[in-house]
């Protein structure tokens, strides 16, 4: 008997046309085709999805979990990217 487990896959489901795929959880499977099959059984028993993506967890590159990650710092001081930065008179319509 082998100690090694089947690899872990992350599962993403599009709940209906027009929406993005959303991460719903993970599962173990020996290969991509079975990961898709298992994802159907585990995450869409009540027609929760019209499309499924599975991707091996070790293929994902993630940013650091810290909210103060310098990766996000450049957008922190650019208030002028938000519509509320601009004063528009109340009587100017449709803006």
């Amino acid at each position: 008997m082998t100690r090694s487990e089947w690899p872990l896959y992350e599962v993403f489901v599009r709940s209906k046309r027009g929406l993005n795929h959303v991460h719903v959880g993970s599962l173990h499977a020996p290969d991509d085709a079975l990961a898709l099959r298992h994802a159907r059984d585990v995450y869409t028993r009540r027609s929760e999805g019209v499309s499924i993506w599975v991707v091996r967890s070790d293929a994902i590159t993630a940013s650091s979990p810290d909210e103060k990650d310098p990766l996000f710092a450049p957008s922190g001081d650019k208030v002028y990217r938000h519509p509320t930065f601009y004063d528009i008179p109340d009587d100017v319509p449709h803006m």
Partner: protein, 306 residues
């Protein structure tokens, strides 16, 4: 504690204080990680072992309708176990370790599943009372502080409502039947009521971990609060069914005996789980060998994920 650790601990405390969620790669105190692993593992094991008492009746369902319902319910419980195992694994525990700790008895599962199911009425009573108690416990856990656990609970709660309603409907159908059927329902409720109340865990005074778990936002209510809420919610349902609920006096010595593996079916439940796992070994090995085959057959292009 170094300055860096103090900073991390302060960040963790601030996240909890703000009612925000802790996510897998965040720093967390070792005690928090241990507590979440223990609670989520125990919860996952309960879903998996919980398939057995009801699963035993699938082949003896009284009609095709009841059989399809029971099959779907038991399949859901397998799904619940898998959502929770995957939440637990985000904390660096392996699925294999979890399975082994269930089988060795190192990790526990809910004591309710160590009671036998003696008649088909028990399928109804379990849906109504056992899933009902589980819902009462689980709804507040949708807001638990550990993100993956809360998200698993949200999926589970959406599915539990069907479990409770099919149980109630089954019992209501029997209550409209013969005197003998009504007696079967009452006898079943008599057996399951107190064990269902014990699902909320020991009284607050004997639950040393509750305080810390609530400070960490893992638990949102004490055992006794949830138990009282469940009794209150169930009383009008019992009246509508026409059954009498036995008293709420609980034998805690029995509770501890069953938790420690002394329930009528404890040995059988673990032996069954172990056998199912052992019997599946060749499937896992064959699928692993198939995935590793060399040379790989050319795969049909599956298309980029878009």
């Amino acid at each position: 504690m170094t300055a860096v650790e103090a900073d991390l601990a302060a960040g963790f405390a601030a996240t909890i204080a703000a009612g925000d969620r802790i996510e897998p790669r965040d720093w967390m105190p070792e005690g928090y990680r241990r507590t979440v692993v223990r609670q989520v593992a125990q919860h996952a094991h309960s879903e998996i072992i919980g398939m057995q008492p009801e699963g035993a009746w699938i082949t003896r369902a009284p009609s095709l309708r009841r059989k399809a319902i029971l099959l779907a319910k038991v399949q859901d419980e397998a799904g619940h176990g898998l959502y929770l195992y995957s939440a637990c694994e985000t904390l660096g525990v392996s699925r294999q370790d979890l399975t082994e700790q269930l089988i060795s008895g190192a990790q526990k599962y809910s004591s309710i599943f160590n009671y036998p199911t003696l008649s088909y009425a028990d399928v109804g009573t379990i849906g109504w009372l056992v899933d009902g108690a589980a819902i009462c416990n689980q709804v507040p856990l949708c807001r638990t502080s550990y993100g993956p656990y809360g998200r698993a609970m949200i999926r589970i709660c959406k599915e539990e409502s069907f479990h409770q309603r099919q149980g109630f409907e089954l019992l209501a159908t029997m209550m409209r039947g013969t005197d003998e059927q009504r007696a079967m329902v009452q006898e079943s409720v008599d057996r399951f009521w107190r064990p269902a109340l014990m699902m909320f865990g020991p009284p607050d005074a004997d639950s040393p971990n509750t305080q810390q778990s609530m400070e960490w936002g893992i638990k949102r209510h004490t055992n006794d609060e949830l138990r009282a809420r469940f009794i209150e919610m169930t009383a009008p349902q019992a009246a509508a069914l026409g059954v009498t609920l036995p008293g709420n006096d609980l034998d805690w010595d029995e509770f501890w005996r069953v938790v420690k593996g002394g329930g009528p079916c404890a040995t059988e439940r673990i032996a069954h789980r172990k056998q199912a796992h052992d019997d599946g070994a060749w499937v896992r090995e064959a699928a692993t060998a198939f995935a590793a085959r060399e040379p790989r057959e050319p795969q049909e292009p599956r298309g980029a994920a878009r």
